[in-house]
Amino acid sequence: MERVFTKPVAMKEPRTLYCPGCGHGVAHRLVAELIDEFGLRERAIGIAPVGCSVFADLYWNFDVISTAHGRAPAAATGMTRANPDCFVVSYQGDGDLAAIGTAEIIHAANRGENFVTVFVNNAIYGMTGGQMAPTTLVGQKSTTCQLGRDPAIMGHPIRVCELLQTLGGVAYIARGALESPKTIMKTKSYLRKAFEYALDRRGFTLVEMLSPCPTNWGMTPPQAMTWLRENMLDYYPLGVVRDVGAEEKAQKPVAA
């Protein structure tokens, strides 16, 4: 019988510590599938950030480094600058990337560092028990905004892709979602493009993945998928936000 589906070699034996319906497992798998596809396992280094994905090494079957909260882009810079032959996937949650690590991600993007960033936006701090994140939606409740996020007091949810896309070092930025097979496949195509650009050393690449956190949203997994679809997609529109390759093509003068 023909085998039509297996786990990627870049993934360890399938077992998960993530909550049912969590998006992290899907995001890890997309990374692993592309590591296989591009044949990068031997020189790949994944970053396990501070957050629920801090044990990414339990899933990824390639080298992993755990970095300090928010500092993944700095550590990734240190690795790729010191050894341009290694392929670094920097992986960050929304608290990690858009709160404590805001400076590091902006400057890595601005310098055009050649690694791939996977940005998992679940609109909440997962690991510490559901506190407000920089990406928590207006009106959304969390343990530190129990009456709902009030922008007059707590500021507005940050759109990371749109914030970063103006920077000179950016090669590719896109936003996908992990809420249905269709958006997952689309997200994978964005990540594939980011891998290609990083391998070609074209500069900074980031793929945001809107991701469910049923546990801290206080929902069942199906409810969480629906909530994501109905609430996050309006504020965080899906699609390619920046693609320097496409821009170059569009600018090329047409031969007369």
Partner: protein
Amino acid sequence: MSEKIPIGEKVLMKGNEAIGEAAVQACCDCYYGYPITPQNELTAYMSRRMIEEGRVFIQTESEIAAINMCYGSAAVGARSMTSSSSPGISLKQEGISYMASAQLPVFYVNVNRGGPGLGNISPAQSDYYQTTRGGGHGDYRVIAFAPSDVQELYDLTMLGFDLADKYRNPAMIQADGILGQMMEPLVLHEYKRPPDLPSKQPWRLGDPSTTDPLLVTSLVLNVTGMEERNLELQKKYDTITENETRFEEVGLDGADVVMVAYGTASRIAKSAMEVARAKGIKVGLFRPITIWPFPSARLNGLADRFDNFLVVEMSLGQMWEDVRLAVEGKAPVHVHGRTAGGIPQQADIVADLRKVLDAKPGEIVKNF
């Protein structure tokens, strides 16, 4: 440009630049830094020399980013370095603690300035506690050198890189603005890589020659695992203490008072020694070259032979505490401390030496 560096010859150089050239000679692969006085000459020097040599230089967005870049570079097997001054070193402490736990080598420099807080940009030694107690969170230590002239800044920088690699541990230099900014002649010794440095291949990430996935982390969630890692670190610190403690003794024979001082303070103590001797005060100098590991065992031995100790430091009793711990009450330990740009004055030290000799039993001379 590198051909113009007169290796093996005597040259005149600023302290901060001597550190930079020693790092370049010692095959530092990556330097990351953020501007802060009084160590700016070092970052500026590296910005030119590292790029000339085709190596990595980044002026980072913060001291935090710099140490975390060191973390990344060290994890792929590179020799990495950062430098700063007091407030900036405070910002690096989380990263240094991560590196100590993950057993990654790094070499860094703290050109101390006056504190606490923003303090001032004047020379000081007031980061002694931070330097010698690890500095960040958790049970760990960093190898800390306390050079007293530009030649030593150069030589101990080279040694710092080697010991960091040898023990897979952060190593650093504690200097001050006077050492960093003064010009002095020094010989630019050629760097010789110790033949016994262990290979980084078994643990360095992203290396296709290792097939099993490797993990660099400072996180061990189970209690026994993390305690075991700590015990492993403590064993390493014992080995470092045994092998790497360094100090200098000047004119101890027949001394009635032994001064204990390091770095700039030791230079002033040395000159005060000449003046005091001319006045008939028999005084010697004990100079720690490593402040961690601290030469406690040697000082304890000296306390059997000498009646009085006077600590001279550019901080308010920080090293005094270590000397008292070392001496274990065998002899009185007096202290002359200035801080935040206050420099111990020759005449004041000589006056305190006189007070030490005149002190009644049990009386401690302390100038602050």
